[in-house]
Subunit: 163 residues, 2 copies
């Protein structure tokens, strides 16, 4: 549940600047705005979320630029992409993403993070057994959160999909 501090965000922003310089790419206002917004987010915003938040702050960033900047951030290893099966992607600062995986409530969509260091060790071993070089992993547990599991017990065996 660690909400990133102003300092964390600033440090990440500097790393991004460094990454851009390394690749001889211009440091533009839009790129910094996108990165800063994402680094400061406590949740897992989608591209549209980011666009809206930037607009709300008076920063106008075109869709193409937004996606291209996200791509840069992912390439640089500063941001991780998540796909929770909603039909679009969500983004999270890699520093925040490391060390946790996700519990997703199938009914209300609530997202809870949980520590994963133990899984990671096991997954590295599993990869090794297949002679794979471990790079990263994605773990999601779908279920019902405390509130929703109490709400209606009838759906526990069938699909709760609220059509």
């Amino acid at each position: 549940m660690a909400s990133p501090s102003r300092d964390d965000a600033t440090a990440l922003l500097d790393r991004f600047r460094g990454h851009l310089r390394d690749r001889r790419l211009p440091v533009t206002r839009q790129r910094l705005a996108v990165a800063e917004q994402l680094f400061g987010a406590a949740d897992h915003p989608s591209a549209l979320d980011l666009s809206r938040r930037l607009r709300a702050r008076g920063e106008r960033v075109g869709t193409a630029t937004l996606y291209r900047t996200l791509e840069l951030l992912v390439e640089g290893g500063l941001v991780r992409v998540h796909d929770f099966g909603e039909g679009f992607k969500r983004y999270e600062a890699a520093a925040a993403a490391a060390g946790h995986d996700h519990l997703i409530c199938e009914r209300c969509g609530r997202l809870v993070e949980f520590a994963n260091d133990r899984f990671e060790r096991m997954l590295r071993m599993a990869a090794d057994a297949e002679r794979f070089l471990y790079r990263r992993h994605r773990v999601q547990v779908q279920g019902l959160c405390a509130e929703c599991r109490g709400r209606d017990l009838g759906v526990l065996t069938s699909d709760p999909a609220p059509r």
Copy 2:
């Protein structure tokens, strides 16, 4: 690596028929064709894959019907959806999907399955700790397969994304 036997596929097909009867839905040729094709597949075909394979066998199934049938199969718990971040979904008979997770090579796309019973126990406990009711999980490990890790060692620290 278990490639489904003719018998498995037939048994699953019967379960599908039963599921349709339970819901008072007609058992049509197209529905059976889609289900049979998927139950008999040894890999994780996409909707388009299935469409092509059916066409190759002389079975013509419209796109809408194909997707609606897949939805029925997923609802019935007979099929599991996978999303490996390719921009589309893949499908797998649930019976085959239970008991394994996926190792994905980031360079060549190779997919390897590995047993997951131990992870599942750990994930159930993790869910429990957050008062979540465990329903299912998704675990993916991304990395480099034996062949690709030997091919070029220069990419091990940066992103190998073959643009």
